[in-house]
C-alpha cells in the first residue's frame, strides 16, 4: 500500500468519486440513492453539500468514508482507491484516513471528553504520548480544556459537538465528513461551530465535506454542491 502523503501528492485530490451509483434494495423495491455522481474535492477544500431530505447526502458521505460500498463507480480518497476494498480493509481505511462527525451519536457515553479523543489512538497502533499531546492540543483549540474530564452527559450540545470535531481530527485524516454538524444546535451556536470547523480545517489544510440543510452555513465553505434525487446539480 502506498502511503497517504505520496498518493495525495500525486493526485492532489482529497476525494475523487466517479460515476457513483448506489441502489438500496429493500424487499422487492429498489431505491436509487445516488445516480452517476461525480465529485472531486481538492486536498484542502471545504465543500458544503446541500439538498433536501432523502436526496442522498448521507449516502454520499458514507461511500466517501468507506462505510458503504457503491453499487457502481469508483472512489479514491487521497489517491487511495477504495472501491474494491474488503470489510477489513475499509475498517483500517476509516481508522487511518477519514474523520467522521455523524448526524446523531458521536460520543462514547462512558468516556470523558479527553478519552473520547484518545479512543482513536486506542483502536489503532498506539502512539501513546504523541496521541495524548495531540488530544490536549485539540481540546485547547476547541476551547474544551476545562471540560476534558467531563462525561458526555455533563456537556452542553455545542460542547459535545466540539468534542466530536476533535475526535474526527485525532487521526490526522485526509478528509473529514460532517453530516449536519449543526442540526441539533441553535443558529448562533451552529454558526460558531461551523466557523470552528472552518478554522480547524484551514489551519491543517484538511479537506472536508459539510452536509447541511442550512444555507447560512454554506458561505463558510469554499464551494457548495447541490444534490437532488441522487444527482449532483452544480
Amino acid at each position: 500500500m502506498t502511503t497517504l502523503a505520496e498518493s495525495a501528492s500525486t493526485t492532489g485530490h482529497a476525494l475523487e468519486m466517479r460515476a457513483i451509483t448506489k441502489i438500496y434494495r429493500v424487499a422487492d423495491d429498489e431505491v436509487v440513492a445516488l445516480d452517476h455522481v461525480d465529485l472531486t474535492v481538492a486536498s484542502d477544500e471545504i465543500v458544503a453539500l446541500v439538498g433536501p431530505s432523502g436526496s442522498g447526502k448521507t449516502t454520499l458521505c458514507s461511500i466517501a468514508g468507506g462505510l458503504l460500498s457503491p453499487t457502481n463507480g469508483s472512489v479514491a480518497v487521497a489517491g487511495q482507491e477504495i472501491s474494491g476494498y474488503s470489510g477489513r480493509q475499509l475498517t483500517e481505511f476509516r481508522r487511518a484516513s477519514v474523520g467522521f462527525v455523524f448526524q446523531t451519536v458521536n460520543l462514547i457515553p462512558f468516556l470523558t471528553a479527553r478519552e473520547n479523543l484518545l479512543v482513536v489512538d486506542e483502536i489503532g497502533p498506539r502512539l501513546g504520548r504523541v496521541a495524548r499531546d495531540r488530544a490536549d492540543q485539540l481540546l485547547e483549540e476547541l476551547g474544551l480544556t476545562d471540560r476534558a474530564s467531563n462525561l458526555p452527559a455533563q456537556l452542553s450540545g455545542g460542547q459535545k459537538q466540539r468534542v466530536a470535531i476533535g475526535r474526527a481530527l485525532m487521526n490526522d485524516p485526509s478528509l473529514v465528513l460532517f453530516d449536519e454538524p449543526t442540526s441539533a444546535l441553535d443558529s448562533s451556536l451552529g454558526d460558531q461551530v461551523v466557523r470552528l470547523i472552518r478554522d480547524e480545517m484551514k489551519a491543517r489544510g484538511t479537506a472536508a465535506i459539510i452536509v447541511t440543510h442550512d444555507d447560512r452555513i454554506t458561505h463558510y465553505a469554499d464551494r457548495t454542491v447541490n444534490i437532488e434525487d441522487g444527482r449532483i446539480a452544480e
Partner: protein, 375 residues
Amino acid sequence: MFLALREMSRARVRFGLLICAVGLLVFLILTQQAIQGGLITGFVGALRQQSAPVLVYSVDGERTLQGSVIDPGLEAKIRGVGGVAEAGWVGQSTFTVRVDGGAESDAALIGYEHSGLGDPSRLSSGRRPVGPTEVVGSAADFTVGSRVRIVPSGPAGATSPVFTVVGLVKDAQIQVTPTLFVPWAGYEAAVKAANPDATTVLPSVIAARPTSGVSDTELVRRINAASPDADALTRSQAASDTPGVAQVQQSFQLIFLLYGLVVPLVTGLFFLIITFQKAAALTLLRAIGARSGALVRSLLVQVVLVVGGGIVIGIALFAPLTLIQLGAITIRFDPGAVLFWSVGLLVLGVASALVAARRVLAIDPLEATTGGGGL
C-alpha cells in the same frame, strides 16, 4: 483493555453487583462441594484411611462393615485364593463409651488383626498402639491421652476394657461416629464386655494384600470368582460403594449442574444486556475504524475480570469457613476443587458471553450514519 476497564470503572455499581453475585455463587458452590466432601468423609473416611488395599465382605453384608460377617468357611476360601499375600481380620462395632469419665456417648471400634491390614495408613499425630489397650482415634473426636471406657452391659460394676488414645488420624470416621482403631485382642475384649453372651468374635471383613505382580483389582476379581458369598472390593471401591455414598454424590451433582447453568446464565444475560445497551457506542467505534475483533476482545476481558473477581470473592468468603467445624462435618479447603471450579466457571463464563460476542460481530458500522445501532 482501555475501553473495557474505563467502562467498568464508570459503571462500578453495575459491575460490582455482578461480581458480588458471581462471588456469592462461587462461595455457595465451594461450600457445597466441601460439605459433600465432608459428608462422605464422615461416612466412609475410616475406610479410606485404613491400610488394607482389599477388603472382602460377605455378600449379605451389603457392603457395610456392621452388616458383614465372615464365617470360618468363607475365610478359608478367601485365604486359599492365589495371589493373596497376607490376610487378616477386621471387625467393626459401635459401643457406648465414656471418654475421660464424661457422659455416655457412641464410638465405633475398628479392630484389626495385623498392622498394615486395617489399621490407619498414616497418623496425623501420636504413635501406633503397642498393646491391646492402646488405640488410634479419629482426630476430630479424640485427643492423645484420652481414656475411653467401654460401658459394659449386664450387672453394674462389671469389668470392661479401658483404652488409651495414643495416636490420631484425620478424616477417619465411619458412619459419622467417633472412631477408634484397636488391635484385635482389645476389640475382642470390647465386644465381650458389651455382649457377655458372645463366645467367639467373628471378623466383619477380611483385609487382604496381593502378592507382588498381582494388582488390587485382579485380586478382587479372583476372590469374587472363588466364592459366591465373597464380595471383595478395593479400598476406594469399599468407600464409594458404601450404601448412601453414591446417592449423596448424585444429589450434589444435580446441585452442581444447576450452579453450572446459573453462573453462565447470569453472566451471559448481563453481558448481552449491556451489549444491547451500548450498541450505539459500539456502532460508533466500528464506524471510526475499530475492528470487531478488538471489541469482542474487550468484552471477553470484562467477562474474565467479572468471573475472576467473583472467584476471588467466593474463595475469600469460603476460606474462613474451612477453619471451623460445622457440626459433625469437617469443611476442608480442597485446592483441587477450588482450581477445578475456578477454571470451569471461567470457561463457562467466556462461553456464555459468546451470544453477546456474536451480537458485537453483527454490528453494521453504517448504522452510525443514521444514529442506529440500537435494537
